[in-house]
């Protein structure tokens, strides 16, 4: 016998156990040993998707159209694959911005718009009411049926008993109290409820076990396995038709496809799914495992739906028992009272799980996005006098929970009887699907604007209400049925179920097509036609680029505030002690001893805003913070500049990561270049010190002889003129040296002036030879010059080339054989250049010295004898000049075999004046 008190006691025992689970999980969380920080709990808690609708309704749907219940689970399975991309990004955005609900998410994305937040909240609450009424209906129905045990009697029509005798009413009240106790014990900044998550995961297990138990019982005890059930069913032509539900035409698949899409969106945008999957997520990595684990859960809980449905259809007289109750009535018919009680508890856990999470999520939205913004706006002065507002916040949420459940009950009274469980649920699915464009668009499309979001959401909502909500009321008798059958004012085109003449679709598909069309269309079109405000641009960038952001962002704020006023503000909402704790923690993280020493910079303001956002929502937090912060308004241009900078930085950082290897190579090159530079620097120092030394030598002689001449007026004429000659010679040497140093410096710094003309090298050589011919004669050196018949021209500066030639010729005189000096100059045409060789028959230059002779102040030669008269800069200058014209200067020599200096210049191919 199942007395009413037995059922009630079992229910309370179960609920009591849930509290114990939640309490334990909260205690563990406080100890820092979180119970829910495992992907398995996360995946199980996602099972809140399976409600009383799944538990009772799937079988009902299967009994009427075979596999028609499956898209509700196959859609989420497909969506879970994409979760890996989408939900991870959602979680990141939510955590960084401390968002607490879907409404917060949307409001925050579109410039922290309070209006948008409240619109989302209204849509969510109105849209979810049918869903909540569904749970109330399922529990009260199953309770009433179980109460009649062992008789199987379908319950009375809704509302006939009066509210005070209506089980559903008491269930609504009880659930409200239960949820208040569960979800609003304390105000959490992150809006996380570890205990609740643990309890929900536990409920997922209970409903799965209960459903599998009844499935196994029906399939293997009442029947001999699935093959037995189906083969019996196939003999009945009416049931056999359920095995091929699609018929022959391709159009019959439309409902299936749209139902799949609808469910894909529902798994993302149902407030309770967002709450569990995103807000309550403790670790982004948990998503990975949930991707396959949650579909597995759905597969398991649906495994026996078809056998139970067909079993029920075979077992009961057609039409005598509502197929939505087969799960319960089949074990009852076999007098399995304990199994029936387990099923009832399973259904209860499915319903309570949904109601708890859904109402908490909705209450947070109502409080943060509907009640708080106007409350803060219109009563700020009075409001700010409250020492602590956290209790007020909790009270608002409690009131919201109770109101939502009572509204759900009234919807149940109004429209609950008109539809089967699944159809009621689909109305809610279609409502939350309206969030998809603004949320998905907001996450991936930078240009979505607040105006676009408002337009899309409102139009989508209006079309949803017109095509789904109005017909539901009409079918319940609360509105004239004529509205549906003839259209408003008899306008055929506006018939809610055949809008603009669209016929042949089921109600949900019809509603989805119209609402999605106007929603997406308005969102995109208005977004493209409207301009984003500065705040919107900032938020859009933060959302879209969230995965490439590292660390905390700052810089989107300018203004002044004091740390203590911010702390006081946060304290009003979270309690002074908690605020002090938070601010001290923040101060420590910034390396400051105490909170009051903090600089009230952009980062601190953002920190305060985020803490508040957890409690009162993003848009209200924005408003509160701006009340204590003197903000300098930022123009769109400035924000654009910052955003451009930020996105460039992001792009760069990505490129940088990829180019790290290249960078490392470049670093190595740089360090070797640096070593070369250091070497050059050292050479430069050497050069300077050498130059100084070289300058000091003639200077020393000049000074000495000047002093000698000055101090010795009695010098003989001969001595005087000898000394004066030395003075003149040394002065000349000094002048030459200075000129050459300056010349070289000019060449090296490219400051020299060049006059490039087309030149025949023979002219230059001729010129140089005639200039030095006197010198050759004096030194008794024989000079031979060989010219080719034809010679290409080169492009160079005449004087500079002459300088090179003269230098080489005077060198050759200096170094050729002292007795029988001989110098040969040869001009020759090479393939791409013209070459000049100046060969002497002197002692030659040792191999090891050949590399050095072009360096500055390097003189090679037997210094024991007369030091060669030269500055040691000549060859260095020559090489600079030749290489300036793209040519080369080199030496070939063997010790005591003579020396040949050669230079070549490229043939002139470009016409020069």
């Amino acid at each position: 016998m199942l007395q009413g008190w037995v059922i009630v006691c079992a229910s309370f025992a179960y609920i009591g156990f849930l509290f114990a689970v939640a309490w334990y999980a909260d205690k563990r969380a406080d100890q820092g040993r979180s119970l829910i920080s495992t992907p398995y709990i996360y995946a199980l808690s996602l099972g809140v998707y399976a409600t009383a609708w799944t538990f009772y309704g799937s079988v009902g749907r299967a009994a009427s159209d075979g596999v028609g219940f499956l898209p509700i689970y196959i859609g989420p399975t497909l969506m879970m694959i994409l979760w890996w991309f989408v939900v991870r990004k959602m979680i990141r955005i939510t955590k960084i911005n401390r968002l607490t609900s879907l409404a917060d998410f949307v409001a925050s994305r579109y410039g922290k718009s309070a209006l948008l937040g409240s619109l989302v909240t209204v849509i969510a609450v109105v849209g979810i009411l049918p869903y909540i009424s569904l749970q109330l209906k399922a529990i009260s129905t199953s309770f009433q049926i179980l109460l009649q045990y062992p008789e199987i009697v379908m319950p009375q029509k809704v509302g006939t008993a009066g509210i005070m005798n209506d089980t559903a009413f008491y269930i609504a009240v009880f659930m409200a109290l239960f949820t208040v106790a569960f979800g609003t014990r304390k105000l959490d900044v992150a809006e996380r409820h570890e205990g609740m998550v643990a309890a929900i995961a536990f409920e997922s297990l209970v409903k799965l076990i209960a459903f599998l138990a009844v499935g196994v019982y029906v399939t293997f005890v009442m029947f001999n396995g699935p093959a037995d059930i189906f083969s019996q069913a196939m003999r009945n032509p009416q049931l056999a038709a359920l095995a091929t539900p699609f018929g022959g035409a391709a159009g019959n698949y439309t409902s299936w496809i749209w139902l799949t899409i609808l469910s894909m969106l529902a798994i993302m945008f149902l407030p309770r799914q967002f709450q569990i999957a995103v807000v309550e997520n403790v670790d982004e990595r948990h998503v990975n495992k949930a991707v396959w684990l949650f579909p597995l859960y759905m597969l398991a809980i649906n495994l026996f739906v078809l056998p139970i449905a067909f079993g029920g259809l075979l077992h009961f007289q057609v039409g005598s028992v509502n197929a939505d109750t087969f799960v319960l009535t089949l074990p009852m018919s076999q007098r399995q009272e304990w199994l029936a009680l387990l099923v009832f508890i399973g259904g209860l856990s499915a319903a309570t799980g949904m109601v708890i999470v859904e109402t908490i999520a909705l209450a947070t939205m109502v409080c943060n996005d509907l009640v708080m913004p106007p409350l803060l706006r219109f009563t700020r002065a009075r409001f700010m006098q409250h020492e602590e507002l956290s209790n007020l916040l909790l009270d608002i949420r409690r009131a919201a929970i109770v109101s939502i459940l009572l509204l759900g009950y009234f919807y149940y009274l109004l429209a609950g009887e008109a539809y089967a469980l699944v159809s009621i649920g689909l109305i809610s699915f279609a409502a939350v699907a309206q969030f998809a464009p603004v949320v998905i668009g907001g996450m991936y499309w930078r240009n979505g604007t607040r105006a676009g979001a408002l337009a899309g959401l409102s139009l989508g909502f209006i079309f949803w209400a017109y095509t789904l909500m109005i017909p539901a009321f009409a079918q319940s008798g609360w509105l004239s049925v004529a509205l549906i059958e003839q259209g408003p004012f008899g306008i055929e085109l506006l018939k809610p179920l055949q809008l603009f003449g669209l016929k042949g679709l089921d109600q949900t598909t019809h509603a989805m097509i119209w609402s999605m069309l106007v929603n997406v269309g308005a969102y995109v079109l208005v977004s493209l036609l409207s301009r984003q405000s500065a705040a919107e641009r900032i938020q859009a960038t933060l959302f879209v680029d969230v995965l490439s952001q590292t660390g905390e962002r700052t810089g989107f704020w300018r203004g002044t505030a004091s740390a203590s006023s911010l702390q006081t503000l946060v304290g009003r909402f979270l309690g002074p002690a908690r605020a002090a704790e938070l601010f001290d923690g923040y101060a420590r993280s910034r390396g400051v001893a105490a909170a009051d020493e903090l600089d009230a910079d952009a980062r601190l303001v953002r920190f305060a805003e985020i803490q508040l956002a957890g409690a009162i929502g993003a848009s209200s937090a924005r408003a509160m913070v701006s009340s204590v912060v003197q903000e300098e308004p930022m123009g769109v241009d400035e924000v654009m500049a910052i955003i451009d900078e930020a996105s460039q930085a992001i792009a760069h950082s990505q490129e940088l990561e990829e180019k790290q290897a290249e960078l490392e190579a470049a670093t190595r090159e740089l360090s070797s270049a640096n070593a070369r530079l250091k070497e050059l620097d050292r050479l430069k120092d050497d050069f300077i010190s050498t130059v100084t030394h070289e300058l000091r030598t003639p200077l020393t002689s000049i000074r000495s002889f000047s002093e000698i001449l000055h101090d010795n007026p009695d010098l003989s004429i001969e001595e005087r003129s000898r000394f004066l000659a030395i003075l003149v010679k040394e002065s000349e040497r000094l002048t030459r040296l200075i000129n050459q140093v300056l010349d070289l410096a000019k060449l090296e710094s490219n400051a020299a002036e060049w006059q490039n003309v087309t030149l025949d090298l023979r002219e230059i050589v001729d010129d140089a030879v005639s200039t030095t011919s006197q010198l050759f004669k004096v030194k008794n050196v024989k000079l031979d010059v060989n010219f080719p018949g034809v010679l290409a021209t080169v492009a160079a500066d005449r004087d500079r080339l002459l300088q090179v030639m003269l230098n080489l010729l005077s060198n050759s005189i200096k170094f050729c054989d002292a007795e029988r000096g001989e110098v040969v100059v040869t001009v020759s045409q090479q393939r791409e250049s013209v070459q000049v060789d100046v060969a002497d028959n002197g002692i030659g230059i040792a191999k090891q010295d050949q590399a050095y002779i072009f360096e500055k102040f390097r003189q090679v030669g037997d210094t024991l004898t007369e030091k060669p008269p030269g500055t040691g800069l000549g060859l260095a200058i020559c090489r600079e000049i030749v290489s300036h014209f793209g040519g080369q200067l080199w030496v070939v020599s063997e010790k005591s075999q003579g020396t040949t200096f050669s230079f070549s210049l490229p043939i002139n191919t470009v016409a020069v004046e």
């Binding site: 030598t697 003639p698 000495s704 002889f705 000698i708 010795n712 210094t863």
Partner: protein
């Protein structure tokens, strides 16, 4: 008898000026044009003081100085170094090598002569 001064410098003009100055100051002089010649002359000419250029061909002034200081004969030998480089590190190196005085080129002729006089003051004239 006069003090003997060896002039070791590869610049003919400087050597000539030093020769004139020292002769005028009453010293006997000899010129060496590189380090090796200077070392040989130190034995044959047996000077009381060497005016030694730092940047000599073959053997540098420092090398000549160290070679001289390694022989017992050098005890009474004074060394005055001439250099175009006047940095502290060069002076220190020269001091360590055994140089008695240091003059930076270009020098004042009076100062140089005074320094030579000071260095040789109290030194008995060699044989």
């Amino acid at each position: 008898m006069a003090y003997r001064v060896l002039i070791a410098d590869d610049e003919p003009a400087i050597a000539t000026s030093l020769e004139f100055l020292l002769n005028k100051g009453g010293y006997d002089t000899q010129i060496a044009r590189d380090g090796e010649v200077a070392l040989r002359a130190a034995k044959t000419f047996n000077p009381d003081l060497i005016v030694l250029d730092l940047m000599l061909p073959r053997l540098s002034g420092l090398e000549v100085c160290m070679a001289l200081r390694a022989t017992p004969q050098s005890e009474r030998l004074k060394i005055l170094m001439l250099s175009a480089r006047g940095g502290a590190s060069e002076r220190e190196r020269a001091r360590v090598a055994g140089v008695d005085a240091y003059q930076v080129k270009p020098f004042s002729t009076k100062e140089l002569l005074a320094q030579v006089r000071d260095l040789l003051a109290g030194v008995p004239i060699g044989k």
